[in-house]
Point group: C2
Chain length 375, copies 2
């Protein structure tokens, strides 16, 4: 394909793949798409290692980095360490998690470790500095308007800046802030998402941008795990697709093995949009864990970002390990971010094969639509 976005990013097919797994990023880029590494969970040193590895694999082909810097979070603007942030987690929440684990036969460590947060201090900026020492072709912020330093770094380095939006108002705000690429992500998406569906959001965002005279390209995201869905979005005016969930059941993915099995078995109705993992609404696989938090009636209200993640991430990593080893209680609790497209993810495949299937399916869909107009 030779669409404007393909030309701009030097790719063959406008499929953008968000993954926390460097192997997926490299495989997608090498297959003609654009892999984007989710960098937030790394230390600057780890990110340096990951990107160096990717550079060796892709040999100059384009890839990107995503660093979450939300506009609002607990401790923003304060000089707080991770430990000081952790002190803000109420004891009752620790008790709530302990009891939830106990009810699933998971003994609790005497002094449970709380997670650190890359939102404390200026880790986001440090990660970005690392990324910019590599030949990245895109930097993305998956939550809210990118901070000024990201927009400025993009300008001065010539690297386009992308931002995810879940509502037309946010798209207008992002366009005015100066981003180069807007990802309109519907409510069916895995991870943080709004309430508007992809099929409505994409044309609504495109119309809103046209109204303010903006021609920023828009990628469609949310629920897209096949080439036919991507083609549907391009028919609506999207420049391509941003994907995440579909890579979680690839051979390369970092997903915990038991969770992969759950995903393969899940239908699209086995996800829930809940703040029980990060403190902001994000779509996840339904499990006893997601059942234990609001919006389920009468269940615990989550803490604000990033306190909820600090409380739960170490626990859920332990749950994943126990689940992998066959622990039944842990298997009932195990969950991960995933979109409604999980209902269409039924087989483990290499990431490269996913890209090739996307292309084939996209072409077939374009032919199907063109065929509908033939006499």
């Amino acid at each position: 394909m030779k669409t404007p976005i393909c030309e701009q990013y030097g790719i063959d097919f406008p499929l953008f793949a968000f993954s926390h797994c460097r192997d997926v990023v490299a495989a997608v880029t090498n297959a003609g798409g654009l892999g984007v590494l989710g960098g937030t969970a790394y230390t600057p040193e780890q990110l340096e290692q990951e990107l160096t590895w990717i550079d060796e694999q892709v040999k100059g082909k384009p890839y990107g980095v995503d660093i979450i810097v939300p506009a609002k979070y607990e401790g923003k603007g304060e000089k707080v360490t991770g430990t000081q942030l952790a002190d803000r987690i109420p004891a009752e929440y620790q008790t709530y998690v302990t009891e939830l684990l106990a009810s699933h036969d998971i003994p609790v460590e005497e002094k449970r470790r709380l997670g650190d947060s890359n939102l404390s201090g200026n880790t986001g900026e440090a990660l970005l500095e690392v990324a910019l020492r590599h030949p990245i072709k895109l930097m993305a912020n998956a939550l809210g308007v990118p901070p000024d330093y990201m927009i400025e770094a993009g300008r001065s380095s010539g690297v386009p800046v992308a931002a995810l939006v879940g509502a037309r108002e946010h798209a207008i705000k992002q366009a005015r802030a100066g981003v180069d690429l807007i990802i309109a992500q519907g409510t069916e998406a895995g991870g943080h998402c709004g309430e508007v569906s992809t099929l409505v959001l994409v044309p609504e965002v495109l119309a809103a941008l046209a109204e303010i005279g903006s021609d920023i390209p828009v990628l469609a995201a949310g629920g897209i795990v096949t080439g036919r869905q991507m083609a549907g979005c391009v028919a609506m005016g999207a420049a391509g697709a941003w994907t995440g969930s579909v890579w979680l059941t690839t051979e390369e993915a970092e997903t915990a093995p038991h969770t992969v099995q759950k995903m393969l078995a899940a239908s699209s109705r086995d996800t829930i949009r809940s703040a029980g993992r990060t403190g902001k609404p994000s779509r996840q696989l339904v499990s006893d864990w997601t059942d234990a938090w609001a919006p389920n009636p009468g269940k615990q209200q989550p803490l604000p970002l990033p306190l909820q993640s600090m409380l739960v991430e170490p626990v859920l990593r332990r749950v994943d390990k126990l689940a992998t080893n066959g622990h039944e209680g842990a298997q009932a609790l195990a969950t991960y971010f995933v979109g409604q497209g999980v209902g269409l993810m039924n087989k483990v495949k290499p990431a490269r094969e996913v890209v090739l299937e996307f292309i084939e399916d996209y072409v077939a869909a374009a032919e199907r639509l063109a065929g509908s107009l033939e006499d």
Copy 2:
């Protein structure tokens, strides 16, 4: 267009338009689509009048009738009159509604009338008998598997039977029950809907039907108010689109004038999926009315179908009248069924113009997608 579904139904463009307004039904049919009259709210005598009028307008062109016969409801299988059903509405609910009205400066009639229900007795069957005396080309059931008598009536009269589904499991059940057309309706739809988005549900339903060896055509529904969205769904494999919301702001529509203004001003985020109108989750325009019912935290749980409708429909019709006359409290309460596509509905148009714009936009979308593959 000459796709199989166009041939089968004798239409030029596979756009199916559900409306409670006979003028919309006739206008869509006369413009080359297929209008479907929502018949449930009528008495058999009224339905006879409406269909006779439509027959005169469309002169043999194809149209359909939709009669809601849910699989489960309060009083099903019992010989109860509307009055006996009304006695099952707890006094506290009447008080709740009275107080809600009072808090909006709406005085309450001394003896408030409760609505009747066409689900009492065998009104569904009687309506169907009326419909079958007219040259209808489709009968639809918008809630659950059609009752046996509908499937049998379809078989003996040669009129195809359509059913709406919100999940893959329901599609399989419908196919096995023998329906001729499946409408896969996503969560963004106005009226009764499930939780899965149209972009995910359509390919998931198509895959599920293929798995059981069924080739029943599938219409996409939910959020579709433009030709580009319809084209996107046809690219994914849908045979066409089933629409509802987009007709509510046409010149012909029965929608209360104040509610039309609210819809034109609304964004896609101004809807909510709530059981506060019918007792089953349905998407509506957000208002003080929808705010007063679950799933809003701490608010009243609605009654089961059809008791909730019997309680609220007469009230909301009165609210509409007051709102039209400028009553501020009523304007804050006024609401109607509408999907997230309301964010793309910004102008009152004749129904015929909506169809023509759909066609133009569909063709442009098909060209856009085909263009993405050109060198």
